[in-house]
Symmetry: C2
Subunit: 229 residues, 2 copies
């Protein structure tokens, strides 16, 4: 009897928590739509609330403020990005090919989810004062690390299969590649009009950037044959 009651209570609680999570996600959905249309700066919480069919005050019950909402979007972005990069890497034959695939997957991601890329750009440009241990910001940071780990795994794979030269600090290389790729995509996106003006397509530019940025990873001379200890 006590068991039944307890079970029943915990059922309700479970259900309520699920619904809460669902609502939370719905609010983020609404925020994404509004941010995409209006941009992060000019987007109004009122619009987010209206789109989520709730009052503005309730939004503030789920998210402390606009910045937290943006961080929630970043987190989603990074999770999806990690999946995409991992999938792209999994389909590539060699470690070196994986790196290229990851670069192109990032480009495709930016193309498919402009809002997510914009969110990451903002996050990347934002200099944090101090990142509290339990904060949302910390969670986003960690989601970022998870993304880098995909690149690092590819680097390690490449070193194993001989398609990538020996590097002593894979994280260093991963961050460099990340910075390069992100920077290039950002230019391709925001300077698209200018690129056209000087007779370049964004795709051409990005293709060049990837080739250019990953070239330095290949082994110096030996064609990978032999060289076993």
């Amino acid at each position: 009897m006590s068991r039944a009651r307890t079970a029943s209570r915990s059922h309700s609680r479970q259900r309520r928590d699920d619904e809460k999570e669902l609502r939370r996600e719905a609010i983020i959905d609404a925020a994404e739509a509004v941010f995409a249309r209006a941009g992060f700066e000019t987007a109004k919480m009122e619009d987010v609330a209206r789109r989520a069919r709730i009052s503005r005050a309730l939004v503030y019950l789920y998210f402390k403020n606009k910045a937290e909402l943006q961080l929630a979007v970043c987190r989603r972005a990074l999770n999806i990005l990690r999946e995409r990069l991992a999938a792209a890497a999994a389909a590539a034959p060699s470690g070196y090919a994986q790196i290229g695939a990851i670069g192109h997957a990032y480009i495709a991601f930016a193309d498919e989810f402009p809002l997510y890329f914009a969110a990451l750009s903002r996050f990347e440009a934002h200099r944090p004062e101090s990142v509290a241990p339990g904060s949302t910001e910390r969670a986003v940071l960690e989601a970022g690390v998870a993304v880098h780990e995909v690149t690092i795994a590819a680097l390690r794979q490449g070193m194993r299969d001989g398609t990538i030269r020996r590097v002593d600090k894979p994280m260093l290389v991963a961050l460099t590649l990340w910075g390069f790729t992100h920077g290039a995509i950002q230019i391709a996106q925001t300077k698209a009009a200018f690129l056209e003006e000087v007779g370049l397509s964004a795709d051409e530019f990005l293709g060049h950037a990837i080739r250019f940025g990953t070239g330095g990873l290949q082994p110096a001379a030996a064609p990978a044959r032999g060289k076993r200890k």
Copy 2:
């Protein structure tokens, strides 16, 4: 007499215009100080006005709004940057060395003028709807082109002196290098704490990035000797 009068009037007008320009610059000075302390988002026009010792309304007489003020800062940033890059390039012996020097000069610039780099980051991340011909934004864009021209000149020099491989679209390469470098610096700045955590210094990271990013420019094999048409 008519001449004298005209001259006198034009003198006053000249003086007034000069003073106006001076005040304009003073407002930008104030804005820079405020932006540096508070960040672009949270900075208040009130503070800019107070620091410039004028009323808030007057600021709006010189600049349409906060965004225009930010663009003015961007323009300054790009002009100074161009000077720095050009100076660095001038001191380097070969075209390839010039490219490296330009990269390091950009890093030094970002280190010396964090606000300017932040301003450029914002500008870079901002996707413009449409850039009107006479607008401030267009002026900033053109200042950006002037910066790229420094890189292009170095590339041409390198192709001439044989330290850089033949590239068919220098602007493509210049933009790539710009994107790479900017992206890397941005990471070094905003992720400095994280870099420390994984045992990397920002300098080490950036040094690596420059070497990595410019490596692909060197000629394939021939040691630059001979090869004249």
